[in-house]
Subunit: 205 residues, 2 copies
DNA sequence: TATCTTTTTGACCATCTGGTCAAAGCGACG
DNA sequence: CGTCGCTTTGACCAGATGGTCAAAAAGATA
């Protein structure tokens, strides 16, 4: 008993296809608004076939969200107290902005989950996330103690980095509507703006 | 024909009750994830009774979203070129933050709509919203020309005000999870932080 | 009180939704 | 080739969902 069957190439491919399709659908309609049929159609599979790889709609959603928070926080983990304060922070901002540009669906999936009260990841938020943020907040405070950056509330500093960068993924439609036809890629402008913002706010007077 | 029936007191009360219940449900589950039964139950009405006041689920959603963008932009309209630049901008930030505190459901409803591609209000975004923002952007640029604030990209300045303030409504769960038990109201801290941020960024060097 | 309009409801319906199942198709391997 | 296990599918199901309708209840008005 408990025999582990090998994972075939077909399984690998189909699981990946399904998750990609589900990311499309969930990130656009939220969990409740998405249907298994939509995901199956997007993935190019029949519904029973899809349910052969994932037992339920929830299972697909959980599989997607599972690793997401971790991936999402990698850039923050990379912020080292040994580096120069301002460049470290600006590098974090830039990596986060790049993630918004390159993985907008993941950002929207995450936003949807949180807006709806984070029923699935609340534990991780007040666990792993909180611990990591507390740890990095220490570093920010230390840098301020040493006079290497201006003092700010470190937790709210992180909130501002998250909201400012993710805004360009989650509210993409609005950003483009307001900027109009003249701007086809808002991200270069955004990068300049955010660099200016954090530089001015954090440069010691 | 085309006789207009008067709006009774019962109609006023029930319509309001329904819209309030719908705001609860839509803001938490998104349009697709919400059901008419949930709204009816929240409003304390039977489903046919609810559908006596609004013909369809869509109609309720549209009624809610209808005036929302306008209300949402009132604080921006109040920003006057005749005032002192920095206080005008800080007042806008503060009013927007107050709206996040006092009307989080409206903020989430709006966020949901935009994340899902703004199918219902895209026209207003690239119409009324864009016009208003362009007009106010002029004022920002003028103030920068006169050396009364530091120069920034005005459109992205507005994006940053929106994202930073709305974050405290839309991502409330995350904010509270990260801040932990010690903080029961994040808004005072947020106000201090945002004031610092915009003051440092915009004060001419 | 009688009449007329507005409001409320139980019963109902077609469609959609998440999910099941038995059987058929298919590929690897001896 | 034949067998065995993995993959795919059409048909199906129970419950949820958006919405309808005729009739009953409740106001308003006189």
């Amino acid at each position: 008993m408990n025999e582990t069957r090998p994972v075939t190439r077909i399984q690998q491919k189909n699981r990946a296809t399904i998750l990609d399709a589900a990311l499309d659908v969930f990130s656009q309609r939220g969990f409740g608004g998405a249907t298994v049929d939509q995901i199956a159609a997007t993935a190019g599979l029949s519904k029973p076939n899809l349910l052969y790889y994932f037992p339920t709609k929830e299972a697909i959603y959980e599989a997607l969200l599972g690793g997401l928070l971790d991936t999402w926080l990698d850039p923050l983990r990379a912020m080292k107290s040994s580096g120069e304060p301002l460049p470290e922070i600006l590098a974090y901002v830039q990596r986060k902005l790049e993630m918004s540009r390159d993985f907008p669906r993941e950002s929207r999936l995450f936003a949807n989950e949180i807006i709806q009260g984070a029923p699935l990841i609340e534990n991780e938020l007040s666990g792993a996330l909180r611990d990591l943020v507390d740890e990095k907040a220490e570093i920010i405070n230390q840098w301020a103690d040493e006079g290497r950056i201006a003092r700010v509330n470190p937790h709210h500093l992180f909130f501002s980095i998250w909201s400012l960068t993710q805004h360009y993924a989650d509210f993409d439609v609005q950003v483009r509507a307001v900027l109009g036809e003249g701007v086809d890629d808002p991200f270069p402008e955004a990068q300049v703006y955010l660099t200016t913002l954090f530089t001015r706010m954090l440069t010691p007077s």
